[in-house]
């Protein structure tokens, strides 16, 4: 038994004024303008923070746990797939065309999608094929030893992710439940920032006496119970808030519903990620369209420029690091060679090469991207633990652990607030209903309009909020009627006595 169980709970003790201050807000809801706007707004914010924490907490917990697992996947992959990923350099590398031919023998029914030439001497070459029957977004990749064109293995890949990472990636994004599962992570991302900003306001605005700064930033260790838990919840939340907000924002950018809206806003602000034209516009190659027009490797072979030549041209044009070469999809298309270095400094330049002439027909330089497009790229790569390598992964893992801790402390505070002397299972008291009545209309009106706008653009913030409000109204109405019935019953005997 711990101190939190009803049987072992200590008797109620006198609390200091400082300790009771936040608790008082849970029981008062009478309209009052005394104390200014913040004192009126605080109970409403507390109620929102409490209910969002209780109801959205499970989604955040799943996101944090799966995200924590995801942070370790690069190391897991490097061990599990060491044979496929690494070779011992010996002699001169074989031409890419020979490597692709070897890969084609390993995956004979696939259509060539891309060839990834590793940045280091010990990296295998990845030859990726589209194979019928694979789920959307998945490909089959052959890993070829560049020195002897030996296929060291084939794996089902999702983009550039190998099976372990793609499984954990799917778990984090969709719980591996497909599009329906995406809603869970979008709910988490849509509400995380609300919880963080609300929590920050509550923590920074909480009344404190002496040693204000220390209490703000350093969790307390001495007193036990809700006070200490609140201290850990608030102080750790303060330290990690920037990370939470960054994860929420970047998570929203690739969510299904909010992400589409953010994309439209980004486009309207001129921040769309530029795209490379893979059509060289050559007069004799303009007639054919569509990726199904034939075997792309055969097209490439028929052209004057082969894969090795495309790489040589790309290198001569300044492309560095890991290169991904997409052969022409048809006779009217160009080779697309793009850098794929997703750690700082990002190398994301790409060029299009006419397969007939070897001329560079289009070029994208990452440095010339709009700021919003760069921020999106950096944000996504930081969220995935790629931008700063191991340090990035460690920071993400710490943020995930902190989020798990925040949720644990939040639920624990709820548990500690439960009535301990009542029989049966009872939950902790929620902040009192009617907190909005303490907020002046001039504050409430813009808040409601802003919430409505946000709810439109972040639907999985808006829908749960509307459901909560409607549910809360229904509960309030039911309880009011119950009280009225009770009052009527209590009043009837008196009337009869008269």
């Amino acid at each position: 038994m711990t101190e939190t169980t009803p049987a072992a709970s200590p008797p109620p003790r006198q609390r200091s004024a400082e300790e009771t201050a936040p608790v008082e807000d849970f029981t008062t809801s009478a309209p009052s303008n005394a104390g200014g706007t913040w004192s009126g707004l605080r109970p409403l914010l507390l109620r929102l923070h409490f209910y969002a924490g209780i109801l959205i907490g499970p989604f955040l917990l799943v996101a944090a746990v799966t995200g924590l697992l995801y942070t370790a996947t690069p190391q897991i992959e490097s061990v599990v797939y060491r044979h496929e990923l690494k070779v011992t350099p010996h002699g001169e590398p074989k031409p890419l065309t020979a490597q692709v031919n070897a890969a084609r023998e390993a995956i004979p029914d696939g259509q060539l999608v891309s060839v990834t030439k590793g940045a280091g001497d010990s990296d295998t070459t990845r030859v990726t094929f589209d194979v019928k029957g694979l789920p959307e977004g998945y490909t089959q990749t052959a890993f070829v030893n560049p020195y002897d064109a030996e296929v060291r293995g084939t794996l089902r890949t999702f983009g550039e992710w190998l099976p372990v990472r793609s499984w954990f990636d799917g778990l984090h994004r969709t719980l591996n439940l497909g599009d329906f599962g995406r809603n869970y992570s979008e709910i988490a991302a849509s509400w995380l920032w609300v919880e963080v900003l609300g929590g920050l306001a509550l923590w920074l605005g909480a009344p404190r006496g002496r040693e204000r700064l220390r209490k703000l930033f350093v969790p307390r260790r001495d007193p036990k119970g809700r006070r200490r838990t609140l201290s850990w919840h608030g102080a750790v939340g303060l330290w990690v808030s920037i990370g939470f907000l960054a994860l929420s924002a970047t998570g929203l950018t690739w969510s299904a519903h909010a992400g589409a809206n953010i994309g439209k806003i980004q486009d309207s602000l001129g921040g769309a990620t530029p795209s490379l034209s893979s059509t060289p516009g050559h007069g004799t190659h303009g007639g054919s369209t569509g990726a199904d027009s034939g075997d792309s490797s055969a097209d490439a072979a028929a052209a004057r420029v082969d894969l090795d030549e495309a790489v040589r041209i790309a290198r001569s044009k300044g492309l560095r690091g890991k290169l991904v070469i997409s052969p022409p999809a048809d006779t009217g298309s160009a080779y697309v060679v793009r850098e794929n270095t997703r750690h700082w400094p990002e190398q994301q330049d790409s060029i299009a090469i006419d397969p007939a002439t070897g001329n560079v027909t289009d070029k994208l330089v990452f440095d010339d991207f709009p700021v919003l497009a760069k921020l999106t790229r950096w944000g996504i790569d930081a969220h995935m633990g790629l931008l700063f390598g191991l340090a990035n992964q460690i920071v993400l893992a710490l943020i995930a652990v902190a989020l798990i801790g925040m949720l644990f402390w939040g639920y624990r505070m709820w548990w500690l607030r439960r009535p301990t002397r009542a029989s049966g299972t009872r939950f902790g008291r929620p902040p009192a209903r009617g907190a909005w009545r303490r907020v002046p209309g001039r504050v409430m009106a813009p808040l409601v309009v802003a919430a409505a706008v946000l709810a439109y653009y972040l639907p999985l913030f808006g829908l749960p909020l509307v459901c909560f409000l409607l549910g809360d109204l229904a509960v309030a109405q039911a309880r009011r009627r119950e009280r009225e019935r009770t009052e009527a019953r209590a009043g009837t005997p008196k009337e009869m006595a008269r």
């Binding site: 002046p440 009280r483 009225e484």
Partner: protein, 219 residues
Amino acid sequence: MIAATGLRWILTLLFCALAAHGLWRAAAARSHPWTARLAHALHAVMALAMLAMSWSWGMDLPGTPQVVFFSAAAAWFVLIALALPSRTEPRARTLVNALPHAAMTGAMAWMVAAMSSAMSMGATGGGHAHDMPGMDMSAPGATATMTLGDTGDRWSAGLLALVLLALALWWLAKGFDTGRLAPRTASGAASGGAVHAAWDLGCHGLMALGMAVMFAVMV
């Protein structure tokens, strides 16, 4: 017409609720003077007109009768404030209270006129009425299917959107204050009169907000 399905349905539900509230108040508020009940009915008609305007079939409704009706309604709010001032308020205050309603119905008349004008420009240009060449037709899934082509109209629509947003905030703020400060019984229920007053103000605010959105997507 609003092309974005989600926004169209949100506005449809909003205007449906506002029309229902207006009709209910017009029918049930028997203690109110007939002018107030007529005002509720006018708000209900305006909500229905806005609802229709959110859908493609609403574009087929004749514009001129609507412009006449809402212009007359705007004038009505002003005239009635001047002719039949409240017994409890000075005439100037009654007029000030009526002006936002007049502005809203006037804005409604302007919106119908601007859209009819843009559609007729499209028709004279040889286009099909639903293509509305006088307006820019966005791709499906965009916020609106149409934006006003004329720069002056777009500026006017933007200005009206801001005015209506300000009115929405003002009414909503008054509604919240009326509701929160209403005297309550021991069971926590607010008095009926205060609740109705708060809902009326809130509905005015929501109507102005819905109209502001409609104007914003026209810009």
